[in-house]
Symmetry: C2
Subunit: 360 residues, 2 copies
DNA sequence: CACTTGGGTGAGAACGTTCTCAATCTGTGG
DNA sequence: CCACAGATTGAGAACGTTCTCACCCAAGTG
């Protein structure tokens, strides 16, 4: 392959055995803590190991036991605070039970995601936590499951996949947030989804079928919840108030400027993540408008800055760390042989009322 | 070990060879792309592999090649935006050259860090990027290096360790930031370090030796730079203006309240990371003070919210992603056999002047 | 004394690759 | 037709563990 075969200087169990004057089998037993070994042999082996600085080779161990004690984690972008916090939860759960974490960023890129699935399969990870880029990857994911590697989906769902899922009830959470804005007297509420261009027509004019299909995705479910609240309040959803122009802060800022330039501009905005909310705040500053007196704002995710800025931001807080930890635990249960029916765990969200949403 | 030996259902190269009617050696050559194989054999093997859904076992490959194509990454806390961004840089650099990343959080805990070093050694990672908790871990780190696993230190340094390091010039950056506050007419500048209790006396009354010794750590170097600026400006450093009361936002808020309650309170604050800056902002809000009219604020790290809040925060921006990417590249060079002298790479910082620091 | 029991031991297989080496096949030049 | 270089091939070793199995031995048991 890549040329030079690197010879490590590390002593093998055979060397340790020789040094201790026993067979490799006995040395293995003493070091691995299985089988039965006399006190004398054990002490000789452990002393020899200590002397030589012996470190077991977990690759060889994995070859034979069939367990790598490694969990693969596939997320779009570890820089995203949502995923870095969730990863922390996953990693802690894994560590607690003696597992390590192999991390791959997918960049929301399907090709990359598939390649990563292949690589992690070749590495024989014991299981995978995946925040899939797209439901379109169902087959690739199912292939991994069929190969005997259990998967737990995080945040997003993929219909028809044999996997546990962990997330929140996005539709209900979004509906609740929207209702709170309506209750403050806002009749014209904008939605900033962060999805990409091609999503927008679907979001703004979804047939019933469309909503159902989109309901599978996080953004889609939240958009559906937003619609639910409007419809129940007897307000006709206005497509031009739904913006899906990109995930970056600048995209959100541009979208905000566009929204506020409308003939009948929104008096409140619901942003589907905290980065988008920053874009809104930035745009408001630029326009000389103030939050919440001119425009109310509510965002998903309780970012660390949400409470510290002026005005403190009202948010829909997800239990992100717990989401990750639960995914990790669920996965480890599977790895360790659980064959319960697949569960779809929904953890509760919490609306934190601060000062960015005010009566109209 | 942990009980059940899991038998994977995945076909081995031997099965593929049988299916294709060739020897395992030939199948290996066709699949691995080494040696020479006739067109006919290759096609038969690839077809058989495709048919059986063959996936090479990279554990077996690593056993023989001595390369796991895995980089270990040891950081205090992946949730910290600094480390999650740096990790992104490391991961991208690794991916680009066909490596994967095994991640461990150390929680600033020396015991955990040592255990993690052991685990990663057993996993035979090809190299390690470490943001060490403490210089006290020198021996444990050196042992890993001696075992043949190269290390690159990120952000922090460990004197006397055979390793490359990547970071910024903390002393110069802190001095520059302090000078800018002094240039605005501030004579009473506080420093929020975020270090823990036992650090404070050293920071506030360092003998020359003290400063030198602390210069090895990130916080210490920045504190030294802060002092440098004061001394050069002919201002006597006041120990009570240096606060090291914890890393969390609440700690910073409490420290800020304490500072502002002093008889001769600071008119400007330098916060050593963005989370601490949030604490300051929160405390100011609570006290009914405004930034920058009542208190000026400058912080390290250009957090994503820094530009979006009011007032936009003036910051010392580190090239965090590049720091990580550079560490990754340096490490991969070592893994692939470079034996250049150890380098200590300092990437340039950039002061971004926004609106949180104003004339007194 | 013969017979069982069970702790302790070592030889060698197994895991799934890549590597080494010698043997065979192919085509070319004389 | 022969010699020879080079491509192609397969048997078997190697990597470092754990697992299987047969064996030895001391201590009871009848």
């Amino acid at each position: 392959m890549s040329g030079s075969v690197r010879r490590t200087t590390m002593p093998s169990i055979e060397i340790v055995a020789k040094e201790a004057g026993v067979s490799t089998a006995t040395a293995g037993r003493a070091l691995g803590g299985y089988g039965s070994v006399s006190r004398k042999s054990r002490e000789a082996v452990l002393a020899a190991a200590e002397r030589l600085g012996y470190r077991p080779n977990s690759l060889a161990r994995s070859m034979i036991t069939g367990l790598t004690h490694t969990l693969g984690v596939l997320v779009p972008d570890i820089e995203n605070p949502f995923f870095s916090r969730a990863l922390r939860g996953i990693a802690d759960a894994a560590h607690e039970r003696g597992w390590e974490v192999l991390l791959v960023n997918t960049d929301e890129d399907l090709t990359l995601e598939r390649k990563a699935l292949g690589v992690l399969t070749e590495r024989r990870v014991d299981g995978l936590v995946v925040a899939p880029t797209d439901v379109a990857d169902r087959d690739a994911l199912q292939a991994v499951v069929d190969a005997g590697i259990p998967i737990v989906l995080l945040d997003r769902r993929v219909p028809g996949l044999d996997a546990d899922t962990v997330g929140i009830d996005n539709r209900v959470a979004a509906k609740d947030a929207t209702e709170r804005l309506l209750a403050l007297g806002h009749r014209s509420v904008a939605l900033l989804t962060g999805g990409d261009e091609k999503l927008r027509p679907k979001l703004s004019r979804p047939g019933l079928r469309g909503v159902e299909r989109l309901g599978a995705t996080t953004v889609g479910a939240r958009a559906a919840g937003y619609r639910d609240a409007l419809v129940e309040a007897g307000i006709e959803p206005r497509p031009e108030l739904v913006s899906a122009e990109g995930f970056r802060r600048e995209d959100a800022a541009a979208a905000t400027r566009r929204l506020l330039a409308l003939p009948d501009p929104p008096t409140a905005i619901l942003a589907l993540d905290s980065l988008l909310a920053l874009g809104v705040l930035q745009a408001l500053r630029g326009l000389g408008l103030r939050c919440p007196v001119d425009v109310s704002l509510v965002a998903f995710d309780d970012a660390d800055w949400a409470e510290a800025i002026s005005p403190p931001l009202s948010v829909v807080a997800q239990p992100i760390y717990e989401l990750g930890a639960e995914a990790g635990r669920l996965l480890l249960d599977r790895v360790q042989g659980s064959d319960k029916r697949f569960t779809h765990r929904r953890l509760p969200t919490r609306f934190i009322e601060r000062e960015s949403a005010a009566p109209r």
